[in-house]
Protein backbone atom coordinates (compact mmCIF):
# COMPACT_ATOMS: atom_id res chain seq x y z
CA UNK A 1 0.00 0.00 0.00
CA UNK A 2 1.72 3.15 -1.22
CA UNK A 3 0.88 6.37 0.53
CA UNK A 4 1.00 9.52 -1.57
CA UNK A 5 1.58 13.21 -0.86
CA UNK A 6 -2.09 13.73 -0.20
CA UNK A 7 -2.19 11.01 2.44
CA UNK A 8 0.95 12.42 4.05
CA UNK A 9 -0.67 15.85 4.25
CA UNK A 10 -3.81 14.30 5.70
CA UNK A 11 -1.88 12.40 8.38
CA UNK A 12 0.23 15.45 9.14
CA UNK A 13 -2.91 17.48 9.67
CA UNK A 14 -4.52 14.79 11.82
CA UNK A 15 -1.34 14.86 13.94
CA UNK A 16 -1.22 18.69 13.79
CA UNK A 17 2.26 18.81 12.29
CA UNK A 18 3.30 21.50 9.88
CA UNK A 19 5.51 20.07 7.12
CA UNK A 20 7.48 22.06 4.57
CA UNK A 21 7.03 20.88 0.97
CA UNK A 22 10.35 19.10 0.82
CA UNK A 23 9.59 17.43 4.17
CA UNK A 24 6.43 15.96 2.69
CA UNK A 25 8.44 14.16 0.00
CA UNK A 26 11.05 12.95 2.45
CA UNK A 27 8.48 11.65 4.88
CA UNK A 28 6.53 10.00 2.12
CA UNK A 29 9.53 8.01 0.89
CA UNK A 30 10.67 7.00 4.34
CA UNK A 31 7.21 6.12 5.61
CA UNK A 32 6.58 4.05 2.52
CA UNK A 33 9.76 2.10 3.01
CA UNK A 34 8.85 1.48 6.67
CA UNK A 35 5.30 0.45 5.77
CA UNK A 36 6.56 -1.90 3.07
CA UNK A 37 8.90 -3.46 5.57
CA UNK A 38 6.17 -4.03 8.20
CA UNK A 39 4.05 -5.69 5.52
CA UNK A 40 5.84 -8.92 6.51
CA UNK A 41 3.59 -9.04 9.58
CA UNK A 42 0.57 -9.59 7.36
CA UNK A 43 1.64 -13.13 6.55
CA UNK A 44 1.63 -14.17 10.22
CA UNK A 45 -1.42 -16.21 11.20
CA UNK A 46 -3.01 -14.45 14.16
CA UNK A 47 -6.45 -16.04 14.10
CA UNK A 48 -7.67 -16.79 17.60
CA UNK A 49 -4.87 -14.79 19.16
CA UNK A 50 -5.81 -12.08 21.59
CA UNK A 51 -3.93 -8.79 21.30
CA UNK A 52 -1.45 -8.13 24.11
CA UNK A 53 -1.86 -4.47 25.00
CA UNK A 54 0.29 -4.77 28.01
CA UNK A 55 3.28 -6.98 28.83
CA UNK A 56 1.78 -7.97 32.19
CA UNK A 57 -1.81 -8.38 31.11
CA UNK A 58 -2.83 -10.52 34.07
CA UNK A 59 -2.45 -7.57 36.43
CA UNK A 60 -5.40 -5.34 37.20
CA UNK A 61 -6.02 -1.65 37.57
CA UNK A 62 -5.20 -0.34 41.06
CA UNK A 63 -7.50 2.33 42.48
CA UNK A 64 -7.14 5.26 44.85
CA UNK A 65 -9.54 6.51 47.51
CA UNK A 66 -11.71 9.48 46.66
CA UNK A 67 -9.72 12.05 48.59
CA UNK A 68 -8.25 15.40 47.62
CA UNK A 69 -4.47 15.22 47.50
CA UNK A 70 -3.61 18.02 45.08
CA UNK A 71 -3.20 21.59 46.26
CA UNK A 72 -3.71 24.69 44.17
CA UNK A 73 -0.39 25.49 42.53
CA UNK A 74 -1.71 27.76 39.80
CA UNK A 75 0.76 30.61 40.03
CA UNK A 76 3.80 28.36 39.67
CA UNK A 77 2.28 26.27 36.90
CA UNK A 78 1.17 29.30 34.90
CA UNK A 79 4.77 30.49 34.66
CA UNK A 80 5.43 27.55 32.33
CA UNK A 81 3.06 29.06 29.78
CA UNK A 82 3.97 31.86 27.42
CA UNK A 83 0.40 33.04 27.10
CA UNK A 84 -1.77 33.49 30.14
CA UNK A 85 -3.76 36.29 31.73
CA UNK A 86 -5.74 36.56 34.97
CA UNK A 87 -5.26 32.89 35.74
CA UNK A 88 -6.42 31.72 32.31
CA UNK A 89 -4.46 30.17 29.45
CA UNK A 90 -4.86 32.06 26.19
CA UNK A 91 -5.02 30.73 22.66
CA UNK A 92 -5.95 32.36 19.35
CA UNK A 93 -9.71 32.72 19.13
CA UNK A 94 -11.44 29.40 18.59
CA UNK A 95 -14.49 29.72 16.39
CA UNK A 96 -16.98 26.86 16.68
Amino acid sequence: MEINDKTISKIAHLARLHLEDQEIHQHKDKLNSILNWVEQLKSVDTDNIEPLYHPLDDSIQPVRDDVITEKNNREELLTLSETHKSGLYLVPKVID
Binding site: H13, L14, R16, Y53, H54, D57, S59, I60, Q61, P62, V63, R64, D65, D66, V67, I68, T69, E70, N72, N73, R74, L77, L78, T83, K85, S86, G87, L88, Y89, L90, V91, P92, K93, V94, I95, D96
Partner: protein
Protein backbone atom coordinates in the same frame (compact mmCIF):
# COMPACT_ATOMS: atom_id res chain seq x y z
CA UNK B 1 -47.75 11.04 4.98
CA UNK B 2 -47.75 9.99 8.62
CA UNK B 3 -44.37 10.45 10.26
CA UNK B 4 -42.88 8.73 13.26
CA UNK B 5 -40.07 10.34 15.19
CA UNK B 6 -37.21 8.28 16.60
CA UNK B 7 -35.23 9.65 19.52
CA UNK B 8 -32.15 8.34 21.28
CA UNK B 9 -30.53 10.17 24.17
CA UNK B 10 -26.97 10.48 25.43
CA UNK B 11 -26.69 11.89 28.91
CA UNK B 12 -23.40 12.99 30.46
CA UNK B 13 -23.84 12.86 34.20
CA UNK B 14 -21.14 14.45 36.27
CA UNK B 15 -20.39 12.08 39.13
CA UNK B 16 -20.53 13.54 42.62
CA UNK B 17 -17.03 12.76 43.85
CA UNK B 18 -14.68 14.82 45.96
CA UNK B 19 -11.73 14.28 43.63
CA UNK B 20 -11.29 13.82 39.91
CA UNK B 21 -11.48 10.63 37.87
CA UNK B 22 -7.72 10.13 37.61
CA UNK B 23 -6.21 12.72 39.98
CA UNK B 24 -6.59 13.96 43.53
CA UNK B 25 -7.74 17.46 42.50
CA UNK B 26 -10.99 18.81 43.89
CA UNK B 27 -14.07 18.86 41.65
CA UNK B 28 -16.04 21.59 43.37
CA UNK B 29 -18.01 23.87 41.06
CA UNK B 30 -17.28 27.58 40.80
CA UNK B 31 -13.65 27.83 41.92
CA UNK B 32 -11.29 30.49 40.54
CA UNK B 33 -9.97 29.51 37.09
CA UNK B 34 -7.22 26.89 37.00
CA UNK B 35 -6.99 26.60 40.78
CA UNK B 36 -8.24 23.02 40.59
CA UNK B 37 -5.92 21.96 37.79
CA UNK B 38 -2.95 19.93 39.06
CA UNK B 39 0.02 18.72 37.04
CA UNK B 40 -2.00 15.61 36.18
CA UNK B 41 -5.06 17.53 34.98
CA UNK B 42 -2.80 19.84 32.97
CA UNK B 43 -1.22 16.88 31.19
CA UNK B 44 2.31 17.85 32.24
CA UNK B 45 4.99 15.69 30.62
CA UNK B 46 5.45 12.42 32.50
CA UNK B 47 2.32 12.41 34.66
CA UNK B 48 0.12 9.31 34.94
CA UNK B 49 -3.53 8.60 35.78
CA UNK B 50 -4.74 6.58 38.80
CA UNK B 51 -8.40 5.61 38.96
CA UNK B 52 -10.80 6.88 41.64
CA UNK B 53 -12.43 3.90 43.39
CA UNK B 54 -15.61 5.83 44.22
CA UNK B 55 -16.32 6.42 40.54
CA UNK B 56 -16.29 2.69 39.86
CA UNK B 57 -18.78 2.08 42.67
CA UNK B 58 -21.05 4.83 41.39
CA UNK B 59 -21.08 3.38 37.88
CA UNK B 60 -21.84 -0.09 39.23
CA UNK B 61 -24.73 1.23 41.31
CA UNK B 62 -26.15 2.98 38.29
CA UNK B 63 -25.88 -0.26 36.32
CA UNK B 64 -27.68 -2.16 39.07
CA UNK B 65 -30.44 0.47 39.16
CA UNK B 66 -31.20 0.01 35.45
CA UNK B 67 -30.94 -3.80 35.55
CA UNK B 68 -27.84 -3.66 33.39
CA UNK B 69 -25.03 -6.08 32.78
CA UNK B 70 -21.95 -5.03 34.73
CA UNK B 71 -18.87 -6.00 32.73
CA UNK B 72 -16.42 -7.72 35.03
CA UNK B 73 -13.56 -6.50 32.86
CA UNK B 74 -13.72 -3.13 31.16
CA UNK B 75 -11.08 -1.19 29.29
CA UNK B 76 -10.11 2.47 29.33
CA UNK B 77 -9.30 3.84 25.90
CA UNK B 78 -7.91 7.07 24.55
CA UNK B 79 -10.03 9.19 22.26
CA UNK B 80 -7.56 11.35 20.37
CA UNK B 81 -8.39 14.83 19.16
CA UNK B 82 -6.89 18.30 19.46
CA UNK B 83 -8.76 21.03 21.29
CA UNK B 84 -7.32 23.70 23.56
CA UNK B 85 -9.42 22.63 26.55
CA UNK B 86 -8.31 18.99 26.19
CA UNK B 87 -4.87 19.14 27.84
CA UNK B 88 -3.47 15.72 26.91
CA UNK B 89 -4.70 15.79 23.32
CA UNK B 90 -6.82 12.79 24.19
CA UNK B 91 -9.73 12.04 26.46
CA UNK B 92 -9.62 8.91 28.58
CA UNK B 93 -12.91 7.16 27.97
CA UNK B 94 -14.22 3.66 27.49
CA UNK B 95 -14.77 2.38 23.98
CA UNK B 96 -15.04 -1.33 23.21
CA UNK B 97 -15.93 -2.59 26.66
CA UNK B 98 -17.73 -0.08 28.93
CA UNK B 99 -18.25 -0.70 32.64
CA UNK B 100 -22.05 -0.87 32.26
CA UNK B 101 -23.54 -2.92 29.43
CA UNK B 102 -27.14 -3.20 28.24
CA UNK B 103 -30.01 -2.44 30.62
CA UNK B 104 -33.35 -0.70 30.53
CA UNK B 105 -35.68 1.80 32.18
CA UNK B 106 -39.45 1.58 32.36
CA UNK B 107 -41.37 4.77 31.72
CA UNK B 108 -45.04 5.47 32.20
CA UNK B 109 -46.78 7.62 29.61
CA UNK B 110 -50.55 8.16 29.89
CA UNK B 111 -50.91 5.02 31.94
CA UNK B 112 -48.98 2.82 29.51
CA UNK B 113 -45.68 1.27 30.57
CA UNK B 114 -42.84 1.24 28.04
CA UNK B 115 -39.34 -0.16 28.25
CA UNK B 116 -36.55 2.11 27.05
CA UNK B 117 -33.35 0.26 26.33
CA UNK B 118 -30.05 1.48 27.72
CA UNK B 119 -27.23 0.61 25.35
CA UNK B 120 -24.35 1.27 27.69
CA UNK B 121 -22.93 3.58 30.30
CA UNK B 122 -19.24 4.35 30.36
CA UNK B 123 -16.78 6.36 32.41
CA UNK B 124 -14.83 9.23 30.92
CA UNK B 125 -13.05 12.45 31.82
CA UNK B 126 -14.60 15.83 31.24
CA UNK B 127 -12.71 18.49 29.29
CA UNK B 128 -11.94 21.99 30.55
CA UNK B 129 -13.83 25.11 29.57
CA UNK B 130 -13.08 27.45 26.69
CA UNK B 131 -14.28 30.99 27.20
CA UNK B 132 -14.67 32.68 23.83
CA UNK B 133 -16.29 35.98 24.76
CA UNK B 134 -13.88 37.29 27.38
CA UNK B 135 -11.19 38.72 25.11
CA UNK B 136 -11.36 40.08 21.57
CA UNK B 137 -8.74 38.01 19.81
CA UNK B 138 -8.24 35.15 22.23
CA UNK B 139 -10.09 32.28 23.71
CA UNK B 140 -9.34 31.72 27.39
CA UNK B 141 -8.93 28.26 28.87
CA UNK B 142 -9.95 27.18 32.37
CA UNK B 143 -8.96 23.61 33.14
CA UNK B 144 -10.69 23.24 36.52
CA UNK B 145 -13.24 20.89 35.00
CA UNK B 146 -10.64 18.85 33.09
CA UNK B 147 -10.62 15.34 34.47
CA UNK B 148 -13.92 15.54 36.35
CA UNK B 149 -15.61 12.13 36.19
CA UNK B 150 -18.54 11.66 33.83
CA UNK B 151 -20.81 8.68 33.35
CA UNK B 152 -22.15 8.81 29.81
CA UNK B 153 -25.47 6.99 29.62
CA UNK B 154 -26.53 6.06 26.10
CA UNK B 155 -30.10 4.97 25.35
CA UNK B 156 -31.44 2.95 22.46
CA UNK B 157 -33.41 4.98 19.89
CA UNK B 158 -36.58 3.78 21.62
CA UNK B 159 -38.47 7.02 22.18
CA UNK B 160 -41.13 8.12 19.73
CA UNK B 161 -42.01 11.62 20.93
CA UNK B 162 -40.50 14.57 22.72
CA UNK B 163 -42.84 13.75 25.58
CA UNK B 164 -41.45 10.23 25.95
CA UNK B 165 -37.96 11.65 25.81
CA UNK B 166 -38.71 14.00 28.68
CA UNK B 167 -40.34 11.29 30.76
CA UNK B 168 -37.26 9.10 30.23
CA UNK B 169 -34.91 11.95 31.11
CA UNK B 170 -36.81 12.85 34.27
CA UNK B 171 -36.80 9.23 35.36
CA UNK B 172 -33.08 8.96 34.65
CA UNK B 173 -32.53 12.20 36.53
CA UNK B 174 -34.49 10.81 39.46
CA UNK B 175 -32.38 7.62 39.48
CA UNK B 176 -28.99 9.34 39.46
CA UNK B 177 -30.06 11.78 42.16
CA UNK B 178 -31.61 9.01 44.26
CA UNK B 179 -28.37 7.08 43.92
CA UNK B 180 -26.66 10.28 45.01
CA UNK B 181 -24.08 9.83 42.26
CA UNK B 182 -24.96 13.14 40.54
CA UNK B 183 -26.27 16.42 41.88
CA UNK B 184 -28.55 16.62 38.85
CA UNK B 185 -27.98 20.33 38.33
CA UNK B 186 -28.77 21.01 34.66
CA UNK B 187 -27.72 24.66 34.71
CA UNK B 188 -24.27 23.89 36.09
CA UNK B 189 -23.86 21.13 33.53
CA UNK B 190 -24.02 18.16 35.89
CA UNK B 191 -26.66 16.48 33.71
CA UNK B 192 -25.98 17.23 30.04
CA UNK B 193 -28.28 15.92 27.37
CA UNK B 194 -27.55 15.26 23.69
CA UNK B 195 -30.52 14.10 21.65
CA UNK B 196 -30.34 12.12 18.42
CA UNK B 197 -33.46 12.83 16.41
CA UNK B 198 -34.68 11.32 13.14
CA UNK B 199 -38.01 10.69 11.48
CA UNK B 200 -39.38 8.00 9.22
CA UNK B 201 -42.71 7.14 7.64
CA UNK B 202 -44.92 5.24 10.08
CA UNK B 203 -44.44 1.53 9.47
CA UNK B 204 -40.85 1.79 8.23
CA UNK B 205 -38.28 -0.14 10.20
CA UNK B 206 -35.17 1.55 8.84
CA UNK B 207 -33.88 4.59 10.67
CA UNK B 208 -33.85 7.95 8.94
CA UNK B 209 -30.84 10.26 8.89
CA UNK B 210 -30.41 11.72 12.34
CA UNK B 211 -29.26 15.03 13.65
CA UNK B 212 -27.68 15.51 17.04
CA UNK B 213 -28.90 18.26 19.35
CA UNK B 214 -26.22 19.16 21.85
CA UNK B 215 -25.92 20.39 25.42
CA UNK B 216 -29.34 21.77 26.20
CA UNK B 217 -29.64 22.86 29.81
CA UNK B 218 -33.28 22.48 30.85
CA UNK B 219 -35.98 19.86 30.43
CA UNK B 220 -38.27 22.45 28.92
CA UNK B 221 -35.74 23.44 26.27
CA UNK B 222 -34.94 19.82 25.49
CA UNK B 223 -38.60 19.17 24.81
CA UNK B 224 -38.92 22.29 22.67
CA UNK B 225 -35.73 21.54 20.77
CA UNK B 226 -36.80 18.00 19.93
CA UNK B 227 -40.27 19.19 18.89
CA UNK B 228 -38.78 21.86 16.68
CA UNK B 229 -36.30 19.45 15.15
CA UNK B 230 -39.00 16.88 14.34
CA UNK B 231 -41.07 19.52 12.59
CA UNK B 232 -38.02 20.83 10.72
CA UNK B 233 -37.18 17.36 9.45
CA UNK B 234 -40.79 16.70 8.40
CA UNK B 235 -40.80 19.93 6.44
CA UNK B 236 -37.58 18.99 4.68
CA UNK B 237 -38.74 15.50 3.76
CA UNK B 238 -42.18 16.66 2.67
CA UNK B 239 -40.62 19.14 0.29
CA UNK B 240 -38.46 16.28 -1.07
CA UNK B 241 -35.31 17.51 0.64
CA UNK B 242 -32.71 15.49 2.50
CA UNK B 243 -31.88 15.65 6.17
CA UNK B 244 -28.13 16.13 6.65
CA UNK B 245 -26.42 14.25 9.43
CA UNK B 246 -25.00 17.02 11.59
CA UNK B 247 -24.80 18.52 15.03
CA UNK B 248 -27.29 21.28 15.73
CA UNK B 249 -27.53 23.77 18.55
CA UNK B 250 -30.82 24.90 20.08
CA UNK B 251 -31.49 28.60 20.50
CA UNK B 252 -34.10 28.98 23.26
CA UNK B 253 -34.69 32.64 22.47
CA UNK B 254 -35.70 32.02 18.87
CA UNK B 255 -36.92 28.47 19.61
CA UNK B 256 -35.06 26.95 16.69
CA UNK B 257 -32.12 24.67 16.01
CA UNK B 258 -29.13 25.75 13.98
CA UNK B 259 -26.39 23.71 12.36
CA UNK B 260 -22.99 24.04 14.02
CA UNK B 261 -20.40 25.33 11.58
CA UNK B 262 -19.53 22.04 9.94
CA UNK B 263 -16.06 20.80 10.83
CA UNK B 264 -13.61 20.95 7.98
CA UNK B 265 -12.74 17.28 8.43
CA UNK B 266 -14.42 14.11 9.53
CA UNK B 267 -13.31 13.04 12.99
CA UNK B 268 -10.89 10.19 13.30
CA UNK B 269 -10.54 9.64 17.03
CA UNK B 270 -8.02 6.78 16.74
CA UNK B 271 -9.34 5.00 19.85
CA UNK B 272 -6.94 2.52 21.39
CA UNK B 273 -6.57 1.00 24.88
CA UNK B 274 -4.84 3.46 27.21
CA UNK B 275 -1.44 1.91 27.90
CA UNK B 276 -1.17 3.89 31.16
CA UNK B 277 -4.13 2.00 32.61
CA UNK B 278 -4.76 -1.69 33.12
CA UNK B 279 -8.05 -3.52 32.57
CA UNK B 280 -10.57 -2.64 35.27
CA UNK B 281 -11.74 -5.78 37.02
CA UNK B 282 -14.94 -5.88 39.04
CA UNK B 283 -15.06 -8.89 41.30
CA UNK B 284 -18.02 -10.42 43.12
CA UNK B 285 -16.99 -8.80 46.38
CA UNK B 286 -17.18 -5.30 44.96
CA UNK B 287 -20.49 -6.05 43.25
CA UNK B 288 -21.93 -7.32 46.52
CA UNK B 289 -20.64 -4.29 48.37
CA UNK B 290 -22.30 -1.98 45.84
CA UNK B 291 -25.51 -3.96 46.02
CA UNK B 292 -25.49 -3.81 49.80
CA UNK B 293 -24.87 -0.08 49.89
CA UNK B 294 -27.44 0.63 47.21
CA UNK B 295 -29.53 3.64 48.23
CA UNK B 296 -33.31 3.23 48.12
CA UNK B 297 -34.64 3.79 44.61
CA UNK B 298 -37.79 5.83 43.80
CA UNK B 299 -40.06 2.81 43.44
CA UNK B 300 -38.98 1.23 46.73
CA UNK B 301 -39.30 4.51 48.54
CA UNK B 302 -42.83 4.95 47.22
CA UNK B 303 -43.84 1.50 48.48
CA UNK B 304 -42.25 2.19 51.84
CA UNK B 305 -43.99 5.57 52.20
CA UNK B 306 -47.37 3.91 51.62
CA UNK B 307 -46.64 1.21 54.16
CA UNK B 308 -44.66 3.05 56.79
CA UNK B 309 -46.46 6.41 56.74
CA UNK B 310 -49.88 5.11 55.69
CA UNK B 311 -50.01 7.57 52.83
CA UNK B 312 -52.19 7.33 49.77
CA UNK B 313 -50.48 6.24 46.56
CA UNK B 314 -51.00 9.73 45.20
CA UNK B 315 -49.37 11.46 48.18
CA UNK B 316 -46.51 8.98 48.24
CA UNK B 317 -45.79 9.40 44.55
CA UNK B 318 -45.83 13.19 44.78
CA UNK B 319 -43.47 13.10 47.75
CA UNK B 320 -41.04 10.73 46.01
CA UNK B 321 -40.73 12.59 42.69
CA UNK B 322 -37.50 14.03 43.97
CA UNK B 323 -35.19 12.54 46.51
CA UNK B 324 -34.67 15.89 48.18
CA UNK B 325 -38.45 16.25 48.65
CA UNK B 326 -38.79 12.73 50.02
CA UNK B 327 -35.95 13.45 52.45
CA UNK B 328 -37.67 16.69 53.42
CA UNK B 329 -40.87 14.83 54.18
CA UNK B 330 -39.11 12.25 56.29
CA UNK B 331 -37.18 14.88 58.19
CA UNK B 332 -40.34 16.79 59.05
CA UNK B 333 -42.17 13.59 60.00
CA UNK B 334 -39.41 12.57 62.35
CA UNK B 335 -39.52 15.93 64.14
CA UNK B 336 -43.24 16.17 64.75
CA UNK B 337 -45.89 14.15 66.49
CA UNK B 338 -48.48 15.08 63.87
CA UNK B 339 -49.95 12.43 61.62
CA UNK B 340 -47.98 11.69 58.48
CA UNK B 341 -50.99 12.64 56.44
CA UNK B 342 -50.94 16.12 58.04
CA UNK B 343 -47.24 16.50 57.19
CA UNK B 344 -47.87 15.27 53.65
CA UNK B 345 -50.70 17.78 53.22
CA UNK B 346 -48.53 20.66 54.38
CA UNK B 347 -45.79 19.70 51.98
CA UNK B 348 -47.98 18.97 49.00
CA UNK B 349 -50.36 21.92 49.27
CA UNK B 350 -48.24 24.64 50.82
CA UNK B 351 -44.55 23.85 50.45
CA UNK B 352 -44.70 22.64 46.84
CA UNK B 353 -46.83 25.54 45.65
CA UNK B 354 -44.42 28.04 47.19
CA UNK B 355 -41.51 26.20 45.57
CA UNK B 356 -43.21 26.42 42.20
CA UNK B 357 -44.25 30.01 42.66
CA UNK B 358 -40.67 31.12 43.37
CA UNK B 359 -39.06 28.40 41.19
CA UNK B 360 -36.61 27.32 43.85
CA UNK B 361 -35.63 23.76 44.65
CA UNK B 362 -36.09 21.95 47.93
CA UNK B 363 -32.55 22.45 49.11
CA UNK B 364 -32.73 26.22 48.61
CA UNK B 365 -36.17 26.70 50.19
CA UNK B 366 -36.25 29.32 52.96
CA UNK B 367 -38.24 26.99 55.20
CA UNK B 368 -36.06 24.08 56.28
CA UNK B 369 -37.55 20.79 57.44
CA UNK B 370 -36.95 21.58 61.13
CA UNK B 371 -38.77 24.90 60.73
CA UNK B 372 -41.82 23.32 59.15
CA UNK B 373 -41.85 20.63 61.85
CA UNK B 374 -41.88 23.31 64.56
CA UNK B 375 -44.74 25.08 62.83
CA UNK B 376 -46.80 21.89 62.63
CA UNK B 377 -46.05 21.20 66.27
CA UNK B 378 -47.53 24.60 67.12
CA UNK B 379 -50.81 23.40 65.63
CA UNK B 380 -50.59 20.08 67.39
CA UNK B 381 -50.11 21.69 70.80
CA UNK B 382 -52.90 24.13 70.02
CA UNK B 383 -50.68 27.19 70.19
CA UNK B 384 -52.10 28.28 66.86
CA UNK B 385 -54.84 27.02 64.64
CA UNK B 386 -54.48 25.70 61.13
CA UNK B 387 -55.63 28.82 59.43
CA UNK B 388 -53.26 31.08 61.32
CA UNK B 389 -50.55 28.53 60.58
CA UNK B 390 -50.94 29.21 56.88
CA UNK B 391 -50.34 32.91 57.50
CA UNK B 392 -47.36 32.04 59.64
CA UNK B 393 -46.05 29.79 56.87
CA UNK B 394 -46.22 32.63 54.38
CA UNK B 395 -44.42 34.97 56.75
CA UNK B 396 -41.78 32.31 57.41
CA UNK B 397 -41.28 31.83 53.66
CA UNK B 398 -40.84 35.52 53.07
CA UNK B 399 -38.68 36.31 56.07
CA UNK B 400 -36.88 33.05 56.79
CA UNK B 401 -37.84 33.47 60.45
CA UNK B 402 -38.89 30.67 62.80
CA UNK B 403 -42.60 30.09 63.48
CA UNK B 404 -42.17 30.91 67.17
CA UNK B 405 -40.80 34.35 66.50
CA UNK B 406 -43.56 35.21 64.09
CA UNK B 407 -46.29 33.94 66.42
CA UNK B 408 -44.87 36.05 69.22
CA UNK B 409 -44.25 39.16 67.18
CA UNK B 410 -47.68 39.11 65.64
CA UNK B 411 -49.43 37.87 68.75
CA UNK B 412 -51.10 34.98 66.98
CA UNK B 413 -51.47 32.54 69.84
CA UNK B 414 -54.72 30.60 69.63
CA UNK B 415 -57.62 31.55 71.88
CA UNK B 416 -58.51 28.39 73.81
CA UNK B 417 -60.10 30.01 76.87
CA UNK B 418 -63.86 29.07 77.10
CA UNK B 419 -64.73 32.15 79.09
CA UNK B 420 -63.20 34.54 76.56
CA UNK B 421 -64.65 32.61 73.67
CA UNK B 422 -68.16 32.65 75.23
CA UNK B 423 -67.88 36.37 75.64
CA UNK B 424 -67.16 36.83 71.96
CA UNK B 425 -69.88 34.36 70.95
CA UNK B 426 -72.49 36.05 73.09
CA UNK B 427 -71.63 39.45 71.68
CA UNK B 428 -71.94 38.11 68.14
CA UNK B 429 -75.31 36.47 68.87
CA UNK B 430 -76.67 39.62 70.42
CA UNK B 431 -75.45 41.69 67.52
CA UNK B 432 -77.05 39.33 65.01
CA UNK B 433 -80.21 38.53 66.90
CA UNK B 434 -82.27 38.48 63.66
CA UNK B 435 -80.03 35.78 62.19
CA UNK B 436 -80.33 33.78 65.40
CA UNK B 437 -84.09 33.76 64.87
CA UNK B 438 -83.67 32.70 61.24
CA UNK B 439 -81.40 29.87 62.38
CA UNK B 440 -83.91 28.68 64.89
CA UNK B 441 -86.54 28.72 62.14
CA UNK B 442 -84.52 26.19 60.23
CA UNK B 443 -81.84 28.14 58.31
CA UNK B 444 -79.16 25.95 59.81
CA UNK B 445 -76.64 26.98 57.16
CA UNK B 446 -76.22 30.16 59.15
CA UNK B 447 -74.10 28.19 61.66
CA UNK B 448 -70.99 28.73 59.63
CA UNK B 449 -71.81 32.45 59.41
CA UNK B 450 -71.66 32.64 63.21
CA UNK B 451 -68.40 30.71 63.26
CA UNK B 452 -66.98 33.07 60.66
CA UNK B 453 -68.01 36.10 62.69
CA UNK B 454 -66.39 34.70 65.81
CA UNK B 455 -63.18 33.96 63.92
CA UNK B 456 -63.20 37.45 62.49
CA UNK B 457 -63.82 39.01 65.87
CA UNK B 458 -60.93 36.99 67.36
CA UNK B 459 -58.70 37.97 64.42
CA UNK B 460 -58.61 34.33 63.39
CA UNK B 461 -57.09 33.24 66.67
CA UNK B 462 -60.09 31.41 68.13
CA UNK B 463 -59.74 27.65 68.40
CA UNK B 464 -62.19 26.59 65.65
CA UNK B 465 -63.27 23.26 67.14
CA UNK B 466 -63.89 24.87 70.51
CA UNK B 467 -65.91 27.63 68.85
CA UNK B 468 -67.99 24.96 67.12
CA UNK B 469 -68.66 23.15 70.35
CA UNK B 470 -69.54 26.26 72.37
CA UNK B 471 -71.68 27.77 69.64
CA UNK B 472 -73.58 24.56 69.16
CA UNK B 473 -74.28 24.35 72.89
CA UNK B 474 -75.66 27.87 73.05
CA UNK B 475 -77.79 27.66 69.93
CA UNK B 476 -79.28 24.28 70.81
CA UNK B 477 -80.08 25.27 74.38
CA UNK B 478 -81.41 28.76 74.02
Amino acid sequence: MQWESVIGLEVHTQLKTKSKLFSGSPTEYGAMPNTQASIIDLGMPGVLPVLNQKVVEMAIQFGLAVSAKINNRSIFARKNYFYPDLPKGYQISQHDIPIVGTGYLEIENNGAIKKIGITRAHLEEDAGKSIHDLYDNCSAIDLNRAGTPLLEIVSEPDMRSSQEAIIYLKKLHRIVTYLDICDGNLQEGSFRVDANVSIRPVGDTELGTRTELKNINSFKFIEQAIKYEIQRQIKILESNGKVIQETRLYDPVKNETKAMRSKEEAHDYRYFPDPDLLPLEIDKKLLQKCQKNMPELPHDKLERFIKEYKLSKYDASVLTTEKTLADYFENVSNLTSAKSKTVANWIITEFLSYLNKDSVDVTNAPIKAEMLAKLINKIEDKTINGKIAKTVFEKMWNSGKEADAIIKEENLIQLNDDKKLLEIINNILVEHNDKVQDYKNGKIKLFSFFVGQVMKESKGKANPSQVNKLLQGILENS
